[in-house]
């Protein structure tokens, strides 16, 4: 795609194309739903305010992520992560989102969750579906709060490997 400056109608088109990825990226960075909404909106407004020139979709996605990340960092008094971590952050995100804003990974994750059993399945249900506190979950599963934290992390690790296997096999 040749490069060109953009107009309002281009912004709307780019919102349609990239909004899911920008919003997911902000959530991944740690933004709450509301903050992600606000910052994603602001990110797209920057398309007109900043010197943006549209090129390939992948380049646009990278530009939008950079702006979103910068806005997210600015929403804190102190940076929520180190500049040195940006490469790791990008690697984690692009590994997950690939070129489809993470749709396929998310679908794979949905299947992987279905395959969980025992306490792993239960902790996902209690934490993500019922949004219970660690203390509450711990009481139900006979674990301390740290135990719940570890179980959640182990479960996510299993899920991540499962998603990777599915995507590699796809």
């Amino acid at each position: 795609m040749s490069s060109r400056t953009i107009e309002h109608q281009d912004v709307v088109r780019l919102v349609q194309q990239h909004q899911v990825e920008v919003w997911r990226y902000l959530r991944f960075l740690g933004a709450s739903n509301e903050l992600a909404d606000d910052l994603a909106q602001e990110t797209f407004l920057q398309l007109l305010r900043a010197p943006f020139v549209e090129r390939a979709p992948a380049a646009t996605a990278t530009w939008l992520r950079t702006v979103a990340r910068s806005l997210y960092v600015k929403s804190f008094r102190r940076p929520p992560f180190l500049l040195a971590e940006v490469e790791t952050i990008e690697a984690a995100w692009t590994g997950f989102a690939r070129d489809d804003a993470g749709h396929e990974s998310l679908e794979a994750l949905r299947d992987c969750v279905q395959q969980l059993d025992g306490r792993a399945r239960e902790v996902v249900r209690l934490h993500y579906e019922e949004r219970r506190s660690r203390r509450d979950i711990g009481e139900r599963l006979g674990l301390g709060e740290d135990g719940v934290k570890s179980l959640l992390r182990r479960t996510r690790s299993i899920l991540r490997e499962c998603v990777e296997r599915r995507r590699e096999g796809a």
């Binding site: 912004v11 407004l45 008094r77 994750l109 993500y128 992390r153 990777e164």
Partner: protein, 574 residues
Amino acid sequence: MNDSGGRMNDWDDRVVDASLQELHGSKPPDLSARVLLALQEEQRGPLPTLREPPPRRRRAVRLVEALLAAAAVIAAAWYLGATMAEPPAQSQRTEVAAVELEIDVVEGTLECVDIRPGRATVRHTAPALATFAAFPGNRLRCEARCLAQVGPFGSCVAEPHTELEVKSMECSRKQGVLVASTLTIGVITGAVTWHAFTRTDVAAAGDVLRLEAAPAGESGAAMLAENERLRQRLRELERQNDELQTQASRTQAPAAPPVETAKEPPPEPAATPPIAMAFTDPKFDAALAAIDWKLMGDVTNEMGPLLAQLAAMADQMKNGELSKEGMALAVKITELNGKLVAQVPAMLKAGLPGYEANGAYTHPLVTANTLSSTLAAAGQPLTDAQRAAMSGLVRAFSVENQSIADTSHDFGLEYLLAETEMKERFYKEMSTLLTPEQYRAMYPEGSQANDGVSLFGTGLVTRPYTSAVPAANAADFARIASNKLSESIGFDEATATQVRGVIERMTAASPELWRDPADAAETRLNFLKRGRTPAALRRQIEVMREIERTVPLTPEQKKQLRAMKKILVPLPRR
């Protein structure tokens, strides 16, 4: 996904975490309409609207907030605590057209805008006694900073370019005279700190304040005392600002040549030279050096036992009033508290992380230094070994404090809870390092049973946001709490009924909230029993999550629910 050496790093973990949240309900929105609207707004130019999110506050605003908020924490509105449970007026309440309020303009210029036909806008420059018609739509404006006493509704400090609008009021007729009993005010632009008799509220553009009038008998002397206290605090604030500006100008000045500039007069010594800090952190040392730690210790050491004495007087209160001795004690505590509050700007200047001003005041570094000075003032100084052990605690908890501040929370109150729980552990671990004598200096007898009585307790963190709700049972509490939520968030009747159901069901399932009937210190002085507020806060967050999950709310209502700062604490009636 990224995998370095087969181990999952934090960011890999986060991406799965965020995805799981999305699978369970947090869906990406369609932003097209929002962006389109924003583009149109940009073409029209910025327009101030009531519901816009509050603007970022400048440091000056934060300083004023800090002073007043910290005062609200320590010097509780004890003498009016009992009146909270009583009806504010005996006569029948009616909705009326306008009520005249007397406003004492203490500082700055206040513009009273009357929108009724034939009425004019009048400017009053301090010192002045103004009359303002509390009529829906009428406004108060301050171009520069302004301090005023507004009838029986307390004092307000308005930041530059602040505009307030009367939304509604409830009135009563007493002896033939119409008087306002509640006043609801919207902040159109700017920010205001409202120091009422039972609490301090800070509101910015878009916020709404609901104010209750002080009981008639207290509106004279108490207001004058309140005015005087605010004036004194203002003077202290100005002095602090001057000092900070002087320090800043010295810091920014280029290095002086060694000999030629020796003719310059030497810098004046500080009025009270600060003593060395016992516990340090390179990130904050420069700013914290401005704090007078000796004064912090002396005042804390003196004030601790007085607060405990005051709490013990609750049983002797008659008709909700303290005895003469009690009032004298209250005045003394207020005076001492003013000295502590004067140190807060330096804490904020240091940029200490924490949930608003009181979060900074209770930061591990500040707490440990205050404790060290307090023990020195009590003649029980820390030993080197204790100091070394405590340094480790301060470092570890400071890291945890920063981590909590950097974490994004769905609900604002989650931040407050995380910080409260962390600080509870910090106080506990710190106290285990002390000798019995030192422990008694930290916690004078009678200071540990109730929040707000100890100057080394998490009550300092939560008190500004605590709203006690006297209730007979969960159903009673749910009724009051859902009314309060409906009022602040604007639920319709159907939504309010659903919210009430959730609150009742979940609160009834929390026996720990109902086990302990309220005592006199709680009902009369608003010193809630220790542990009551964190337990209520924990449950409230779960309730809020459940409301969000099960009750259909508009995006604006969700936003307000998540931003809610008030902790509604059930106070079981005997």
